[in-house]
């Protein structure tokens, strides 16, 4: 009796309307699969530490979600993979150097995961109701709380077992501190710099370094129609435009957009974080504006702000506007009667 009644209950939720549990978990696991190349590249360059940090985030995300849902007497939905994906994204957004016991920083990914899964996602109502991207809030919380630990970047060594690695600055860090000529000098010449940025052989968060691996994952998602081109293209396009026009100090139209596109978290952010279904608009026009806002804010922070990197804050700020944008660009209901105002026109 009870079961049949449950099946016929109508549940009205916020968009996007997912038809069944099966579809949700399918999306989650496919996105996780799309992240695999970038993750493997991170493990290749930063070794075991990268693997440990990501695994720590994934395991704690699943555990926190399970126990929170138990605590509030809800059905545990660990199998749908959204906790797994949040943990994976968060882990890929952290520096591998956090796996360190003196000074002890292993608690950082665990607390960041707690903030992401419990505070950002579950306290706001769980999957589909969170205002902000959980993984990014987790990272923002960690960056603000432990600014030292979160900005120690390992030199990519490409030797799997290296546990005590040298540290270095990220390309964007060098760009901010010393300028373009110094950045090119560090990597030899411009071609070599592009090469390092594309392959991922540079300092940075675990999953953000390899532009090629991220593009492969992104194109896979586009091909599978899990994301549309609107947000990534307007995000990257706006950022590239601003980098080209204002990127060079003292001269207009002399900046190098490619360096900005392939450094920092730009690719990971544009392809995987800004396209999150829950925290981005679902109307196409709104998505274009959302992406453009992300790109513009990112470049504003990179060129004028105090942080060398701005993708995270840019996406979080635009997350606030997602519902508003959706409302402003809502498509007309098919067959709806014209209002008096429209007829007068």
């Amino acid at each position: 009796m009870e079961a049949t009644k449950k099946e016929h209950e109508l549940i009205v939720s916020v968009s996007p309307h997912v038809k069944s549990e099966e579809t949700t978990s399918r999306i989650m696991w496919t996105v996780s699969l799309a992240l695999l190349p970038a993750f493997l590249s991170g493990v290749y360059f930063f070794g075991l530490k990268a693997l440990f940090i990501t695994a720590l985030c994934v395991v704690s995300a699943v555990v926190f979600e399970h126990f929170y849902l138990k605590l509030v007497n809800k059905k545990s939905v660990v199998g749908d993979g959204s906790g797994f994906l949040t943990g994976l994204l968060l882990g890929m957004n952290l520096p591998a150097s956090l796996w360190s016991f003196s000074p002890f920083t292993v608690h950082v990914p665990i607390i960041a995961t707690f903030v992401a899964v419990v505070i950002t996602k579950q306290l706001f109502g769980g999957l589909g109701y969170n205002v902000f991207n959980p993984a990014l809030i987790g990272r923002a919380f960690a960056l603000i709380s432990w600014p030292r630990a979160m900005t120690i970047w390992m030199t990519p060594t490409a030797s799997f077992l290296t546990m005590d690695a040298k540290t270095t600055a990220t390309p964007l860090g060098i760009l901010k501190e010393a300028g373009m000529s110094e950045l090119i000098k560090v990597f030899g010449d411009k071609v070599s710099l592009y090469e390092h940025l594309l392959t991922g052989n540079r300092a940075g968060s675990i999953g953000e370094t390899s532009a090629i691996a991220l593009l492969i994952g992104g194109l896979f998602l586009l091909y599978k129609k899990y994301i549309t081109w609107h947000i990534p293209v307007s995000f990257l396009g706006t950022a590239a435009l601003i980098a080209w026009v204002f990127g060079q100090k003292g001269a207009l139209f002399a900046g190098d957009p490619l360096i900005h596109l392939f450094s920092g978290g730009m690719m990971l952010g544009a392809l995987f974080m800004a396209t999150d279904y829950v925290t981005s608009p679902s109307v196409r026009k709104a998505q274009l504006i959302f992406g453009a806002g992300c790109g513009a804010l990112t470049m504003l922070i990179r060129l004028k702000g105090g942080f060398p990197e701005g993708v995270m804050f840019a996406i979080l700020i635009m997350n606030c506007f997602a519902p508003l944008l959706d409302r402003g660009f809502r498509s007309k209901v098919f067959g709806a009667v014209k209002t008096v105002k429209e007829i007068k026109k």
Partner: protein, 215 residues
């Protein structure tokens, strides 16, 4: 004008601390509770200042309630409040200048606290001296309690110290002493406060039910 309060003075005080706690229950005056509570000392002094102003304002208004013309009551309330805030400001500047240097701006802002004007309008202007004083005391203590809890939590977790003295040696969660952390702290503590209250209410309800059944 004087509708006598029937509740006891003790209940009147407890009302402000628990049932109508300015911050945790009414969510009023959140600006100062986030701005000044990044260390315990500031929180306690701010809470103390509000307690003092609330009690004195309630008593003054209560004594004056029969001579204030209803049409001009709000300006009069504001005058009384700003008078007592000025007294507080001067006292603090004289006896705790280091704290005053940090929270002075927010002390002046007490004038605009919704909670103080609301108690003057809703309670003190309709009640006699003692209930009004008890109400001010309860409201003020509730505010002091909230600010102390928030600043205790924030300084301990954010800085690892209390009242300026270092307590824990490990790396603290720096975010909590930053403005954004204030929202986290208030949100978490508000949830905790309501959770405890809800549990207590459920327990009381169960007890009453059991007593009824036994009867």
């Amino acid at each position: 004008m004087s509708s006598h309060s029937t509740v006891s003075l003790k209940d009147q005080i407890l009302n402000g601390i628990i049932k109508e706690n300015t911050i945790f229950k009414l969510a009023l005056s959140l600006c100062p509770s986030i701005a000044v509570t990044n260390n315990l000392k500031n929180g306690v002094f701010m809470g103390g200042a509000v307690l003092f102003v609330q009690v004195m304002v309630n008593m003054t208004i209560s004594l004056m309630r029969n001579v204030i013309h209803p049409k001009v009551r709000l300006p009069i309330f504001m005058l009384v409040i700003s008078g007592w805030v000025t007294v507080t400001q001067m006292l603090m500047a004289a006896f705790a200048p280091d704290v005053y240097a940090k929270v002075g701006l927010y002390i002046a802002l007490i004038v605009a606290f919704a909670s103080i004007l609301a108690r003057a309008e809703m309670f003190a202007s309709k009640n006699r001296l003692m209930p009004s004083m008890a109400d001010g005391l309860g409201m003020g203590i509730g505010f002091l309690f909230a600010l102390t809890t928030i600043s205790f939590f924030r300084e301990l977790v954010g800085k690892g110290s209390l009242w300026g003295y270092p307590i824990i040696d490990t790396k603290p969660v720096l975010l909590l002493i930053l403005p954004a952390g204030g929202f986290f702290a208030v949100g978490i503590l508000m949830a905790g406060f309501n959770w405890i209250n809800a549990r207590a209410a459920a327990k009381a309800a169960a007890k009453a039910k059991a007593a009824l059944a036994a009867h």
